[in-house]
Amino acid sequence: MLDQQREVYKEEARELLSELEDSLLELEESPEDSELVAKVFRAMHTIKGSGAMFGFDDIAAFTHEVETVFDLVRNGEISVTKKLISLSLEARDHIRSLLEGNDIDLTKGAALVKSFQALVPSKTPAVEETPRTLPAENLSANSEAAATYRIRLHLVENIIFTGTRPDALLRELSELGACKVVAHTHEVPLLADINPENCYTHWDIVLTSTRGVNSIKDVFIFVEDDAELKIDLIDDGLSSDDELDYKRIGEILLDRGDISKEELEAILSQNKPIGQKLIDAKKVPQEKIDAALNEQEMVRAARQQRQAQDSASSVRVPAERLDLLVNMVGELVTVQARLSQAAASRDDSDLMAIAEEVERLTGELRDNSLNMRMLPIGTTFSKFKRLVRDLSGELGKKIELKTVGAETEIDKTVIEKLNDPLVHLIRNSLDHGIEMPEVRRQAGKPETGTVLLSAAHSGDSVEITIEDDGKGLDREAILAKGIEKGLISADAHLSDDEVFNLIFAAGFSTAKVVTGVSGRGVGMDVVKRAIEALRGSIAIDSRAGKGSVITIRIPLTLAIIESLLVSIDGDAYALPLSIIEECVELTAMDITNAHGRNLINVRGQIVPYISLREEFGIFDAPPTIQQVVITHHNHIRVGFVVDQVIGQHQSVIKTLGRMCKDVQCVSGATILGDGNVALILDSNQLAKKAEQMAE
C-alpha cells in the first residue's frame, strides 16, 4: 500500500522536477519575474512536504535547505544570478538522484548546501518566516527605502468619456517621486485617420518612490476598469546586485546594435536602474529601451499563456493502455473495410446503410484515438535548452538555442524515439559546428552562436530542422574521408548534396579529435537508422563558413495512413495519398514521343517517371494505356507508372517483418477489405530512383 503511494509521489515529484528545471531556465532569462520565483519556491516546497510525508527524509532535508534560500529570493533579499540558477539546477539534479535512488553522492548534497548558504547575505537571514506575497507591498508597510517600479499603462481608446485626463494621471504619479515617462506612439494614426479625442498612446513609466506600491495603485483607482495596469518592482533599493536583470535588457540592446559593448559595460558599472542610466548617459533613445523591454515582456507573456494551456484539466493514463486502444482501433478499421466491401457486394440497402454508419464512426474513433497519442514536441525542446546551456558552458562556447514550432504535435512514441537522435545531432552542432567565440568574432559573426530547432507539419509528415550558424561542413574533408573509407570511388562525380550526406554512411567519422562531448563522429549513421526506423528521412545541407541545416521528415503517425490503391499486374499496392498530386494517362504515343527517356509532358512541365512494372521485374506486356501517378517529393515532381488506379484506402500499416527489412521500395503492408495483402510502397526510395534514371 505504502509502496504504491511512494510510487505516486515519485511520479509527481518527477513532474515537479521537470517543471522546476523549466522554470529555472526561464527565470534565468527573466530574473525579475517574481511569479517565476514564486513558482520555483512552490515546487520546492511541495517536493519537501510530500517527501517528508512519504518517508523520503533525505529529499525533504536537502530540499529544505534550498527552499530556505529561495525564500530569501522571494523576499528580494537575494537576487537571481547565473550562479544561483546553476546551483539550483545542480540541486534539482541532486534531488532527482535521491528520488531515483541511483548514485547518491552524499558529499555532493552537503557541498551544494554550503554553496547555497554562501549566497545568503550576512546581514539579515530571514529564514523561518511565513511566506509573503509581493515584496513591494512589504516594503510599503515596513520601510522607507526608495524603490523603483516599472509601470505599464494602457488606457482604453475612449478614455475621455470617463472624464479621466491622462495628463492628470501622469501628474499624480510624478508627485510620488522621481518619474520618467515614455510614451509609445506606434499606434497613433496619421492625421487623415485620427480621431483627436481618442487615446492611442500607452506608456512605460519608471518611478522611484518611497511611498510603496499601494500609493501607485491609488492613482489609478478610478480608472481600474478602463485601464490595463502592470506594476513591476525593478529595484527594491535594498540589494545592490541587480546586475543580472539590467544585463538582460542591456544584452537585448547590444544585440540590436542600439548600444556598443563598451558603452554597456561603462553604464553597468554605475549603480542606478539601467533605464535611468542609459537615458542619463544619452546613449540610447528611450523608445529603444522600451522596445527592448517590450520584447522581453512579449516573450514572457507568450510563455505564461502556454503554461496556462498546459495545466488545463487532464487525466493520467498508462501508456500501454493507450497503445492497446490504438491497436484495437487499427483492427477495427480493417474489419470495417471488409464489412463495407461485403455490404456493397450484397446489394442490401439496410446493410449498406449500417456499414456506412459504422464507417463514419470508425473514422472518428480512429482520428480521436490517434490524437490522444499526440504530444507537442515542445516538451522535448525544453529539455534541450538545459542540454545546450550545460554543454556550451563545458565547451567554453557561447550558444543560444532557439525553438520554433514547439506546439507542433507528434505521436508520443515518435517523440520518444526521436529524443536520442536529436540529442546527438544537437551535440554535434555544438561540438563540431559552432566555433569558439574568438573564431566567430574574427569571422565577423556574433560571438553567440545560434542553434535553431524548428518543427512543423508538412502534409502528413512532420519536418524537424536543426540549423546552426557555425562553420558548416568541410566538403573536401568529407570527400577525402569517403574515398579513404572506400565508400566512394576516387573519380566519382558527386554533387554537394551527395557529399554532405556521406556523413550518414556507416563507418564514417571525420572528428579529428574524439571529444568527450559527442564521442566519435560515427553516431551519424546510427541517427540515420533511428530515423529510418520511424519511416522517416534525414538530410543535411551546408554552406562553408555559414552553417548547416539538418532536415528530418517523419510520418505523423505510425499506425494508419490514407493511401491510394493502384494495381500492377493484378496485384494491389498502396501509395501514401499526401504526396500524390494527380494521375494522368500514359499512352503508347507518349512513350514514343519521349524517345527512350522516361519523361512525360504534363501541361507543359516535364516530369520524370519510373515504371513500377519494370522496377518490380514484371516483364509481361503492360496494358495499352497505363496510368502515371504524379507525386511530389521535396519540391520535385516524379511519376510512378501503374496499370490502374483503384481508389482511396485507409491503410492500417502492418510491418513486413525482419525477412523483408532490406527491401527497398516497400515500406510496409496493409490488409484490404477482401483479406488480401497490399504492399505499401516507399515513395521516397522510388522517387530517388526515378530522379536517377532521368539523369
Binding site: 491622462p166 501622469l170 510624478s174 483627436p196
Partner: protein
C-alpha cells in the same frame, strides 16, 4: 479656447500660430489646420509662443502630425523661442526623445528632441 492663425512664409512653407489653450476642445480645429497645412505645403512651422497650456491630446495630435509629415516627406518644426510650457508638457506626457524619435532617429531637428 484656441485660435490658429496662418501665415505664409517662403514658398511651400506655412506658419501656424497657436494662441490660447491647446487642449482637447481645440483638437478638431487643430487637426484640420495641420492636415490641410501638410497636404498643401512642404513645411509646417508651429509657433506656440502664445500658447498658454497643452494637454495630452494636443501633444498626441502633434505626434500624429509629425508622423504624417515624415510619411509624406514633409517637414514640421517648432519655432519662436524656448517654449518652456510646451517642453514641460512633452516631457510630462512622455513624448520627449533623446536623439530622435523612432521615425527619424538621426534627426537632431526632430520635433521631440527638446534638450
Amino acid at each position: 479656447m484656441l485660435t490658429i492663425e496662418q501665415e505664409a512664409r517662403a514658398p511651400g512653407s506655412l506658419l501656424l500660430k497657436l494662441r490660447g489653450d491647446a487642449d482637447v476642445t481645440g483638437t478638431t480645429q487643430l487637426r484640420e489646420a495641420l492636415l490641410t497645412g501638410l497636404n498643401e505645403q512642404n513645411e509646417l512651422l508651429i509657433d506656440c509662443s502664445q500658447t498658454t497650456s497643452f494637454d495630452f491630446f494636443a501633444i498626441q495630435l502633434l505626434c500624429s502630425a509629425h508622423r504624417s509629415a515624415v510619411v509624406g516627406g514633409k517637414k514640421i518644426r517648432l519655432v519662436a523661442g524656448d517654449l518652456p510650457t510646451l517642453k514641460q508638457a512633452i516631457r510630462a506626457t512622455g513624448f520627449a526623445r533623446q536623439n530622435g524619435c523612432s521615425l527619424c532617429p538621426d534627426d537632431d531637428d526632430c520635433l521631440w528632441c527638446i534638450n
